[in-house]
Amino acid sequence: MGGGRACPKCGTVNPADAAYCNLCQEPFSRKGDSPVRRAPMLPFNEAAASNIRRSRLLFLLLFAAFFGLGGIVGKVYGSVPMGLSLALILYAILASTAYFSGSSIVLSIHDAKETDSGEHRQLLNVVEEMKIAAGLPMPKVYVMESQGMNAFAAGRKPGEAAIAVTTGLLSRLNREELQGVIAHEMAHVKSRDTLHNICAAVLVGAIALLSDMFLRDTFFFRGRSRARGEGGGRGNVAFLLLGIVLALLAPLAARLLQMSISRQREYHADAAGAEFTRNPLGLASALEKISREGAEVPGENRGTQHLFIVNPLRAFTADSSALLSTHPSTELRIQRLRAMAGLGT
């Protein structure tokens, strides 16, 4: 990226015309150092499209990293195609398991119960309103028994989507705020983020597994008895070292990419959800309440933290390490939503 602009906070190089840092969302002031953190005003469509583009790019990187690792491992053992096909098979197995049982596992981990009428009339109405606004089929609606306020969406495609919310969320949000939250989840469903999440998680898992296998094999079973073929010698040693370094670094890098994808998708869902309700302030006010009152859910664990509207395990402030967050800081999300409504900070 020639002529880029380095972020004063985290050092990431951004495009020259960037209005805020791509990584930590630090806004770039136009002249001098303005102490005011202000999200740039972005129209819904543009915000949504740029986040989608970014997350696609990151996805490609993740794929490339995975197959690159497979190729290097293959090279060390003498055959690149073999490494690539090993990677492919590994991915196919993991992905199909996740694809076919992912959403039911997630729903049962968090103890979500399906609801179809009666006591949650308002919730069902709001979901139906948003399904109409998004032009999607009606998802199944689940409720989790918890004081914390949170929500997530699951399901591979819009036709079999599920949206789950906690009872704490239902009791403490007003109708407009609930609408904002449901619209955010509906946006995840519409852009198939749930499927993206599954794919990203599987890739990260596969990279970790591949690295693990490789390292274990290299350090514990590296007897001379293993036939190395004629390709042995210096070249192979270099590739072995490269492989080790990659295997050590790849899982971490993959994790960072996954987090980054997750953050872009969250921003996208905020913007797209606001387009459904035409009322960004509903979600902004809901996020404010959630960050004040807590977002814990039943059965919370690190494997599913990125699915929720607000991370149930950690609260991200504007100053927490952006690199490892599943979500953008709630504060900045609220700022962006308010900017969409034409309000400054």
Binding site: R121, Q122, N125, V126, E128, E129, M130, I132, A133, A134, G135, R175, E176, E177, Q179, F276, R278, N279, L281, G282, A284, S285, A341, L343
Partner: protein
């Protein structure tokens, strides 16, 4: 190099088919969106008699407001044609708003479980109507943009795809901006 024209021809045909199918899909999306609006309007018509039934015993002094709702509903049910229908439905929306404003003055009415659930149903239906309308208008915009822009306008004119009409909101609805929540 004889295969270059062949590839070019295939690409053109593929674009042609793709664009045509896209236009058909968008047109059907508009029809479906229109159908959604009608479903919700019908649902509102069905809910109102229940509401009137529950409310009328409490509201002996407000017979006029009630009568207006019943009348507006009758007009909306019998309205024919898009423009007339839109106008009647907007009038019905207004009459319901004034009814709910009056309900606020009757604490025991507000406390009534039936009224509360009917009110939620009607609010939900109102919202569904407006979101269905929004989706309809968005679909119309996408469709109209597509058939009017180059190059897809060529196919649109060959197959006679006409621009669709927007569903206009009532004057009152346009004038109300969303309030700041805090």
């Amino acid at each position: 190099m004889q295969w270059i024209p062949a590839i070019l021809a295939i690409a053109i045909v593929a674009w042609f088919v793709g664009t045509y199918n896209r236009l058909v899909r968008l047109r059907n999306q508009i029809q479906n969106a229109w159908h959604q609006i009608e479903v919700q309007l019908k649902r509102r018509h069905d809910l109102i008699p229940n509401l009137v039934e529950v409310v009328k015993d409490y509201m002996s002094y407000e017979q006029e407001t009630l009568a207006r709702v019943v009348e507006a509903r009758g007009a909306a049910v019998s309205a024919r044609g898009t423009a007339a229908q839109a106008k009647a439905e907007n009038a019905l929306t207004e009459s319901l708003k004034s009814l709910f404003a009056v309900v606020e003055n009757y604490p025991d009415l507000k406390a009534n479980q039936n009224v509360a659930s009917l009110q939620e149903e009607l609010t939900g239906t109102e919202n569904k109507i407006s979101f269905a309308r929004q989706y309809y208008n968005d679909s119309v915009m996408t469709f109209n943009n597509t058939i009017q822009s180059i190059p897809s306008n060529v196919i649109a004119s060959v197959f006679d795809f006409r621009p669709s009409e927007y569903f206009e909101a009532g004057e009152e609805a346009k004038a109300v901006p969303k309030a700041d929540l805090r």
